[in-house]
Every structure is written in structure tokens, then in C-alpha cells.
Amino acid sequence: MTSVSLSKTTEPARVRRFFALVRKETFQLLRDPSSILIAFVLPVVLLFLFGYGVSLDTGQTRIGLVIEEQTPLAGDLAASFRGSRYFDVETGRDRREFDAKLVSGEIRGIVIIPAGFTSDFAAGMNPQIQVIVDGSDTNTAGFVQNYAQGVIAGWVAIRLADMGVQKDGSASAISVEQRFWFNPELTSRFFLVPGSIAIVMTLVGTLLTSLVIAREWERGTMEAIMATPVTSAELLMGKILPYFVLGILSMTLCVIIAVFLFGVPFRGSIFALYLLSAAFLVPALGQGLLISAATKNQFLASQLALISAFLPAFLLSGFLFEINSMPVVIQWITFVVPARYLIPSLQTLFLAGDIWPMFLKAMAVMLFIGSVFFVLAARSTRKRID
């Protein structure tokens, strides 16, 4: 046995060590039901949840309708509100009747048909309808506002048509908007499914990766492996490759379900889809490595992964909540959330098609964030245990 030459490992030895680690990781992955659960069962559950369960369109929202003047015209508009499938209407004569109910959340908005409504309308002026919404729940508030506008616009259009007034196209312009807003069920599902793909890849890339490395520390296998000639680069790459592949597989499963089961249109190219996903997995895996370098305990790793990766991907990515309506400080934070770049790109990819300038920019940012994570992780994962 010669001792000196061993410090310089030959290429084949390096390659073999790397593949030994990949093989080991793959065996472990396949035998661990929890990885399969996270990578393949969870995505399906999540997609069904977002595809069927969650819809950002409210079904029937309770509102208060204040009719300040008792005229046939006002009564007609009120009837339109009552007839809307989006509203569950409670009628009153004074807005003060509804103030408390709005505060307590019993109703989500107040629509006021003011005194003078009939005369304004007759004079050809746009009728002034006041809509008061509960701004603490911005989503619902937005819907109440938009639906109320829709109801009014629809009513105006019908009125004008009845009156035989031809106001060159103004009615049809309203009806275009009406179709946009009143096709929400499909729209929100189409937007949510691509978003949930990002969530799933975050789970596989960050949560699962940080967990398996923490597990090696807990079981003492990391120590045994580190005392062999393996290098830290081999160790890290051997961990990452299997989970990269798993993330891509999991994403593929999501896309198949989305397109074939939910009928989400897929207008872009498969090439762009895989390229974007691969670029997203770089920061996701990097973050997983960083977490596991910071903590060597599975419980802590899972908490950190959920708080620093899963929740931001959910809340701060534009997936569920519009980034533009967030406070400015929070908007800044969203810039470091990789999912923020993936989700709009995927939505575009599915619904519009390949828009390369947008994709390239998103990929560049994701790769940049990823490389920062990797540099930090590599610096803290030296082959040392103290």
C-alpha cells in the first residue's frame, strides 16, 4: 500500500465515488415512503385542492344593498343585484343599518343606490352608485367591487338597449369587460395550477433536500462518510443530483395532471418548461443545502424550510396574492423569492406561449439567487464536524 499517491485521487476514482453516492441516495429515496409521498402524492393532492377545492372567485357573497329612493328604476337595479348569482343581497334603506354588519364581517360590502339616481340616469349622466367594501380582506373586497360594477354595467347596457339608445359601442365595451370578469372560475384554475407546480418543486428541492441531509447528521452516517476520502463537492453534488431529477419528475407529473385532467391549455414549448423548471431548482436546492448546513436536526430543518421557502413560495410569489397590492416593504422581500420569477413565467407559458425575453430574464434572476445560495452553502459545508 502506497500512502503518498493516495492524496491525489485519480479521475475514475472521483467519478466512481460520485456515482456511488448518487446510487446510495437513489436507493434510499426509493425505499423511503416519505420522499415518495412528498414528491408524487403531495403534488396530486395539491393540484386537486387548487384545481377543484380552492377558487379565488367567491361563490355567493353577502352584501347589503341600500336603496335611498323608492323609484321603479332603483327597484329595477336592485332586482339586478338580487338576481346576480354572485351576491346574496340584504336590502335596507339606510346604510347605517349595515355598518356594524360590515365591521363584523357578516356582509362583505355595501352597495348604495343614492337619492337622485333616477334623475341622474334620466339626465343621461352616469349613475353614481357607491360601493363600500371591507378592505381588510383585499381579495373579497376586489371581487365585490368588480362584480358590483359588472352588475351595474350589465343593467345599464340592458336599460340603454331597451330605451333604444345607440351610444356607439359603449354597451358592447361594457359587455367585453363583463365577460372578462365573469369568466373567473376557469381563469383562476388556469392561474393556480401552474403556481402549484412551483410549490411542489419548492417542497422537493428545499424541504426534502434539507431533511435528508439533516437525517444523515442525526444518524451519524455523515461523520462516517466524511472520514473517507470523499470530497465535500462530491458529497454535495451526490445529494443534489437525485433530488434534481426527482423535482423534474414531480413537475412532469404536475403538468400531465394539469393539462390532461384539468384541461389547462399548454401553449408554450416543452423545452421552455424544462429549462424554466431546471433554473428554478437551482435556488430551491441551494436553499435546501444552506438550511441543512445551518442546522443538523431534522425538526429544525423542516421548520426552516417551511418558513423560508414554502410559505414565501405560497404567499409572496404572486401565486395567491397580487404582489402589487402588498405593502412596499413586503414587495421588496418578494424580489428574493425565486418562485416569484417562476410563477408568472409558467402562467405565461401555459396560457400565452413562449415569451423568451420574459423567460430569460426570470431564469437569469433565479440562477443568480441560486448561485448565491450555493456559494453560501459550500462555504459552510466544509468537511468538518465542529
Binding site: 500500500m1 462516517a224 473517507t228 468537511k383
Partner: protein, 586 residues
């Protein structure tokens, strides 16, 4: 074995590791290692000996290059650990405490992985695997997941993985912990064979009987090297100072307590029916009769490593237990046994964890359940405490079936769990307060008992320290205090002194002995053979069954042969297990 290192004497005895003033500390805590210097040679087993927390694991990690010393330097096989860790890692085999195996990989997959990681050439593999699998007797199990192997088999597989690519230096971190004595003996033989090929072995252990068998030991205590050299050199320091008192009339526990208070006695322990003492260098032989009293016979006996270790640490604690002195005497009311087990059986699915365990313990006795990890001790223990429902049979404590009779019955027992399960984030005072509350103490009695515990165990100075930051010995004292605060009739001790230093162990047993003299009944589980010697009776538990029951001396006498006239507890265990296996095979 192929590719042997020539084992001429010069070569084999060469210096493999040189430790020069090695120091290491972690954060604010006490220094883990203080100026340790020493040499580990090829072709020998060097024992790295010391209680838990002595710095053994830290030293091994420093030698692997996975940690760097704060001060001093370590040279391994010609390489400095600071500069050439990768070169060192290519030449060593390391088995960490939990063997470093992937439990979800099979035996063969574990071997393949380590063969790849250690770059064992493909051509050499079939021969190397065959040799190691034969050597470790694992050939039949290559397809089995490592997680489904027994403790002893895991340990052998861990060793096989560390031996791939024939290391020059083999580092074993507490390979004997929790493994049954037969596997431990097998492993020792295997490692001994390796040294014949010139491999240097570092075997770390908290068992002082293992130290005795090493070619050389490095004895660590609280991060300091106390001794370096052949174990016999240390043992010889107490030569002619070790005696056995036999034929003691009355209680051997009382006798020991008295003896320990005598001038000239450095250390004393109970060994079956006898008391073993170490006298100070100044003590004269003539004084011994005075120490022993009139009835006892005195016999000089072979010194052991532990005797010398305790002597070196300045002797054991005295024989008085303030805890026992403060305890109320429990009188034997009806002569009924305090703890009874009748045919206790527990099945988990089709696995029988304990089968037909029967014994009873009269008031004021210590009963031991002795066996390796996974033998069924804890299962039996938990059935008696009412924590597990027996599949069959019945267990009673102080006349109560703890599973049916609630808090009232439970207040009569004290429980000290393995590894001293205290609340690590609570301070010493808060732990005492909490356990006092849990056991139903309140008002002035609670205050009284807590202040008594503080006085007896001198916690006061550390009252505000979180329990997890206490030194091991103090943790153990605190756990004992929490378990006995409410003056229980029966005390359940789960591995109470595994890994603690011999001084703390003696102190602990002084308290227990004292309490037992006051009428407390004790059930103790242990895999530690020395601890069994303190028991009045023991039951050997092996693979879920009680294979022998009797006093330590009875069990030892039962296996004595011409070649082995004075067997140790471990010899007895091994002989009895082998006999029970022959019976099962027949």
C-alpha cells in the same frame, strides 16, 4: 488477507499517531481536551479509556481530521491533521459510535458504497467482500437491510465497512456499548487478529474491564490524560493493596458502609457476597482485621484497572449516605414481596419482546435485570411500571397493579429513566420543583424535601443552571434526587450508571445501598456487568427470556470450571447464554 503489511516487530510497533499537547474547547463550555500528548502504535490495540464526557470522541475526531485542535498538533501516519486531512482519511478506517451504517441499505449495498468511497479497485472486491463477510459471519445476511440487523451484527458490519481497503489505522468509537457480551468478545477477537497484520487500533471505551485487555491505554478524565502506558503498569500501582472480605456476617451493604468510613480505605465495592476494598499505600496489613471486624475472612486479590483508576482519582467517596440517613425507615408490614412479576409476556405483532418473565423482590432488596440492549429488559420494566400493557401475565408493585390503580399507587414508586431524562431547559431548581409537584408534594413538605435534596447533593451553587449544561455526574445526581424526593417504597432504575465515572458510580450506589437498608426496594436494569454485582439477585434476560435467576455468586459459581475457577459476571453471562442456545438447538 491480501496486501499485508510486513509485520516485523520494528515495523508493527512503529509510531502511527503522535499527539503533541492537543487542546480543544467548544464555546464557553469546559475544555474538552487539555494538553493531551501520547503515541498510538501499529500492531497493537490502544485503549482510549474514560467515562462519558472525558473527551474520547473529540480526540478520535481530531485524529480523523474532521476537527482541528485549538492548540498542539496531531501527526497521523506521517501527515499533519491540519494540513493533510484527505491523505489521512485515505489511510484510516473509522467506525463512529452508531457504526455509520445506512439502515435503509442492505448489507451488500453498504459494503459497495464504502468500497466505492474508499476507491477499492474493482478487481480486489470479490476477494475482499468474501473475506470480510466470512470474518464477520454476515454472509447469510448480505440481502438484509442494515436496519434489521441485531446490535451485534450492525457492529460487525460497521467494522467490515471500516476495514475495506485495509486501513493502516483503525479508529473504533465505543464499539462495545450496548452490545451483548458475546458479540463484544467476538469483536475483540476480530480486532486482535487485525493487529497481527500490523494495523494500529484505537479502541475507545468507558468500560474499565475492556481497558485491562488493551496492549496500552490512554486514560482520559475530564479532558486530561491521567495515564499512558500498558494497563498493567497502572494496575501495579495498587498491587498488594486490594483485598476481598468474605463471610461477612449480617448485611454486606452495612459492612461496606462501615468499611468505607475507616482510615486507610481508599475504595470499596460490593462484589456478590463479598466486599472488595483497596487500602491506601500507608495502611498496614495488620489494620485490616480491625477494618473487617471479627467474622470476615480477608484474602488478598488481584488488583484491577478500576481499582487503580479510583486510587489515582484520590479514592472513592465515603460510605455514608446523607440521603439514606434522612430517609424514613420503611418497616416490613406483611412480609409480602414489594415487586412481583408473574409470567409477564409482551408481543409486538409476531415479535415476542418478553416471554414469561417471573420474579419477586422482597422488601429491602436490589433486583437486577441484566442483558444486552434489545433483550427485553425495558419491556419488562415498562410492564411493571404500568407503562405497557402485558399481553399475558401480571405485574404488581406494593400490591398494586399500576395499570389499573392510578396516581395513588404510582406515588409509591420512584423512576429514574435511562440517560437521566430531566427537562434540559429547566434549571436545577425548576426540575426539583417540577418533579416534587408531579409526585404530589406540596406546601412545607415540598419545601423541606427540596432543601434537603439541595443540601445532600450540593446543588445550591448551580441552582440556576439549565439541567442540560450540567456535567454528567451532576445530572445523574439530579435525576436521582428527582426520583427519590417523595420517599418512594420502590425505586426503578433504568441503566442508572452507564457511562458515568467510577467515583460518581460509587457515590450513587452508596445512596442506593443506604436506601435499601432503610427498606426501599430496588429494580435495576443494566447491561453493565459490574453493576450486577450490587444486586441481591439478578435475572439474565436474553432474547426476551429470563435464562437464569439467582444471586450474582450463585450464577458465577454455576459456571465455574477447572480452567476458569473464578469467573466474572461477564463470563457467567456468556456461559449461560451459550448453554441456553445449545438447549434451544437441541
Amino acid at each position: 488477507m491480501t496486501d499485508r503489511i510486513p509485520s516485523t516487530d520494528d515495523d508493527a510497533r512503529s509510531e502511527f499517531v503522535r499527539l503533541a499537547d492537543v487542546s480543544k474547547s467548544f464555546g464557553q463550555a469546559a475544555q474538552a481536551l487539555k494538553d493531551v500528548s501520547g503515541i498510538i502504535s501499529g500492531g497493537r490495540i490502544t485503549g482510549l479509556v474514560g467515562p462519558d464526557g472525558a473527551g474520547k470522541t473529540t480526540l478520535i475526531r481530531l485524529i480523523t481530521g474532521l476537527m482541528q485542535p485549538d492548540g498542539g498538533s496531531i501527526n497521523v501516519l506521517g501527515f499533519d491533521t491540519k494540513l493533510h486531512a484527505p491523505s489521512i482519511q485515505a489511510l484510516i478506517g473509522y467506525m463512529p459510535q452508531r457504526f455509520g451504517l445506512y439502515e435503509d441499505l442492505t448489507v451488500q449495498e453498504n459494503l459497495n458504497l464504502y468500497a466505492d468511497l474508499r476507491s477499492l479497485p474493482l478487481g480486489e472486491r470479490p476477494a475482499a467482500f468474501d473475506e470480510l463477510l466470512t470474518f464477520t459471519d454476515l454472509k447469510r445476511f448480505t440481502g438484509r437491510l442494515a436496519g434489521q440487523l441485531s446490535g451485534g451484527m450492525k457492529q460487525k458490519l460497521g467494522l467490515a465497512c471500516a476495514l475495506l481497503k485495509k486501513p493502516r489505522l483503525l479508529l473504533l468509537d465505543e464499539p462495545g456499548v450496548g452490545v451483548d457480551p458475546i458479540s463484544r468478545r467476538d469483536l475483540w477477537k476480530m480486532v486482535k487478529d487485525l493487529t497481527k497484520d500490523g494495523i494500529g487500533v484505537l479502541w475507545s471505551t468507558a468500560y474499565l474491564d475492556e481497558a485491562e485487555a488493551c496492549d496500552k491505554v490512554l486514560l482520559l478524565n475530564k479532558g486530561e490524560l491521567l495515564f499512558s502506558g500498558p494497563p498493567a503498569d497502572l494496575t501495579n500501582r495498587v498491587k498488594d493493596r486490594v483485598f476481598k472480605f468474605t463471610g461477612i456476617s449480617g448485611s454486606r451493604r452495612q459492612a461496606l458502609s462501615k468499611i468505607l468510613e475507616q482510615q486507610g480505605v481508599v475504595d470499596g465495592v460490593i462484589q456478590g457476597d463479598a466486599v472488595r476494598i483497596v487500602t491506601s499505600a500507608e495502611a498496614k496489613r495488620s489494620e485490616l482485621t480491625k477494618i473487617a471486624g471479627n467474622t470476615a475472612k480477608i484474602r488478598a486479590t488481584e488488583p484491577r484497572f478500576e481499582d487503580a483508576f479510583v486510587d489515582m482519582l484520590g479514592g472513592g467517596p465515603g460510605g455514608r449516605s446523607k440521603l439514606a440517613e434522612a430517609a424514613t425507615r420503611l418497616d416490613d408490614q406483611n412480609g409480602k414481596p414489594v415487586i412481583e412479576a408473574h409470567g409477564l409476556t409482551k408481543n409486538f405483532g409476531d415479535f415476542t419482546a418478553a416471554k414469561d418473565i417471573t420474579f419477586d423482590i422482597p422488601r429491602g432488596q436490589i433486583f437486577g435485570l441484566l442483558g444486552p440492549n434489545g433483550a427485553g429488559k425495558s419491556t419488562t420494566f415498562k410492564m411493571l411500571c404500568g407503562l405497557l400493557k402485558p399481553t399475558q401475565g401480571e405485574g404488581r408493585v406494593a400490591g398494586f397493579d399500576l395499570r389499573r390503580d392510578g396516581a395513588e399507587a404510582r406515588n409509591r414508586l420512584g423512576y429514574m429513566a435511562q440517560k437521566f431524562s430531566l427537562y434540559g431547559d429547566l434549571s436545577v431548581g425548576q426540575n426539583l420543583d417540577f418533579f416534587a409537584g408531579v409526585y404530589g408534594l406540596s406546601g412545607s413538605r415540598k419545601r423541606e424535601r427540596i432543601s434537603l435534596m439541595n443540601e445532600i447533593f450540593s446543588f445550591a451553587a448551580r441552582d440556576n443552571l439549565p439541567a442540560k449544561d450540567l456535567p454528567l455526574g451532576l445530572k445523574q445526581r439530579l435525576a436521582l434526587a428527582c426520583a427519590v424526593m417523595h420517599e418512594p417504597e420502590a425505586l426503578f432504575l433504568d441503566e442508572p450508571t452507564s457511562g458515568v465515572d467510577p467515583i460518581t458510580r460509587r457515590e450513587f450506589w452508596t445512596h442506593i445501598n443506604g436506601l435499601v437498608e432503610k427498606g426501599v426496594t430496588v429494580l435495576v436494569t443494566t447491561h453493565f456487568m459490574d453493576e450486577a454485582e450490587y444486586c441481591d439477585r439478578i435475572s439474565l434476560i436474553y432474547r426476551g427470556r429470563s435464562i437464569a435467576l439467582g444471586s450474582p455468586d450463585e450464577l458465577k459459581a454455576g459456571v465455574a470450571t477447572k480452567t476458569q475457577p473464578d469467573p466474572t459476571m461477564e463470563d457467567a453471562f456468556i456461559a449461560l447464554v451459550e448453554a441456553s442456545e445449545r438447549e434451544a438447538a437441541a
